[in-house]
Amino acid sequence: MDQTILIDENGKRTDGRSIDDLRDVKITIGVLKNADGSASIEFGKNKIIVAVYGPREVHPKHMALPDRCVLRCRYHMSPFSTDTRKNPAPSRREVEISKVMREALEPAIMLEDYPRAAIDVFVEVLQADGGSRCAGIAAASVALADAGVNMRDLVAACAAGKVNDKIVLDINDIEDKEGSADMPVAYLPNLEQITLLQLDGILTESQFNECVEKAIHGCKMVYEIQRKALIEKYFGNDLPEGEEKELEENKEN
């Protein structure tokens, strides 16, 4: 079978990473003035903007819940996000990702604090390169924190998968298409809970466990980046002496 070489003899992947490397992640907070909270994320070649509105009034009104807030997510890929034009109408895949994103974020948000209200999360993919749902969840959770929604924890997300019978971290587009398994995971790092776990492909039990573990490890790396972005945005250079040390200590704990 004529297969692209996904991992070469030196253990390097198509984009030069080793099997345990994350792509470069960059998060910018507060990119949209109109939104209550916003964030943009560059996750390798992924480029995603997230806007959060709310808590705000629910329209249509019959959707409102008497005891908690409704969380509405919309994941959308812009027509120019892929090399062949993507029809802007919501596809089956986008509807699904919107749903799993909502379910990945819901456990972190204290919805019961805002009865009869709604929180809207809009995730717009400007450029897609595999793993956009994870990048979207990571950015959405930062945008929610930016919006000042009460949250139990941030949600970090990262994928792992199987390529050439090896479990690798953070699958990119080629590995997703040509590799044999892809497992996106969303994780609450402080509460140590998994809020999203999907698997596309076949893994043995031991491979599965290794894959989950690797993905969680990736989530923790993503969390550090999310954390840093938030602290930089809100506290900037104003860290008093000793504070940085304290932050370091927090990280270790």
Binding site: D67, A145, G148, R152, P189, E243
Partner: protein
């Protein structure tokens, strides 16, 4: 007891372990206190709280807010108070007990688009907030410049015992009406003063978390120390209210480090660890 002062936290951060009482924007889980907002964690003798640095306005009973009339039904006005719920101002509150929907023309008193200062009298999880304007200094706002800031910046804009807002008002010759919901109305002698006050308010909004903010504002407004230290009775509605409230408060000498508002905190007797 372990004191926490001015610790920066993000959602999910463990603030402290042990048997402490959660006050504001924190949750207690298995004997640890966890922050739920981005903000500054503080401990007092009552418990642990986080003063948030972002967020939309959530109505609270006894808050004084500035709202815009959107509509009226036959018995009440609907008021936009910049929150996730629109508030209701009952017609009886304005016309008195003998109000009759047939006789009294509600639109003549308050038309859609009018701004009012009002106090929230009831609000809970199950009902929309209810307003009253039957108090001194509440009611329709006749003129002024409208400005919206984040409601989390309001305590900072007022400052300890109204210091910040007084500084701005005196230096720019303006009156600033402040609603807890982040809506401001500025009136002044001249346009330059209003423009300058605008700038100062924007500075406070952008740099609310930094220390030495009063000095930065003073620099912007070119105020010398003596001017601001003289007490005048030139203060706005909410400002007075604020001063009244703060009389019950402990005097913290260092106003720069005070991020909390005495209007917004549930416990008026907070201890400043600084």
């Amino acid at each position: 007891m372990l004191e926490i002062k001015k610790r920066y936290v993000i959602p999910g951060d463990v603030i402290i372990e042990g048997n402490y009482r959660p006050l504001m924007n924190v949750i207690k889980k298995d004997n640890v206190i966890i922050a739920t907002r981005i903000g500054i964690a503080e401990s007092s003798k009552d418990g642990i709280k986080v003063i948030p640095l972002s967020g939309v306005y959530i109505p609270r009973i006894n808050d004084i807010v500035i709202g815009k009339i959107i509509d009226n039904s036959s018995l009440s006005w609907e008021v936009d108070i910049n929150a996730c719920f629109s508030a209701h101002l009952p017609a009886q509150d304005v016309f008195g007990r003998d109000f009759s929907p047939a006789k009294d023309d509600m639109k003549k008193r308050l038309a859609p688009g009018d701004l009012v200062t009002a106090r929230i009298i009831t609000f809970d999880r199950t009902r929309d907030p209810m307003l009253t304007i039957q108090e001194k200094d509440l009611g329709k706002i006749s003129n002024g410049e409208f400005l919206k800031i984040s409601s989390t910046r309001v305590p900072r804009l007022i400052g300890k015992r109204g210091s910040m807002i007084q500084t701005i008002e005196q230096a720019t010759q303006t009156r600033i009406l402040i609603g807890q919901n982040g809506i401001l109305v500025l009136t002044g002698k001249n346009d330059e003063g209003i423009a300058l006050a605008f700038k100062a308010i924007k500075l406070v909004e952008e740099e609310a978390h930094t220390s030495n903010l009063t000095q930065k504002v003073k620099d912007l407004l070119n105020v010398s120390e003596e001017v601001t230290q003289t007490e005048t009775n030139n203060s706005s509605v909410n400002n007075e209210d604020y001063v009244n409230n703060s009389n019950t408060d402990n005097n913290s000498s260092d106003m720069e480090n005070d991020h909390s508002s005495n209007i917004t905190t549930e416990s008026p007797k907070e201890v400043q660890p600084n």
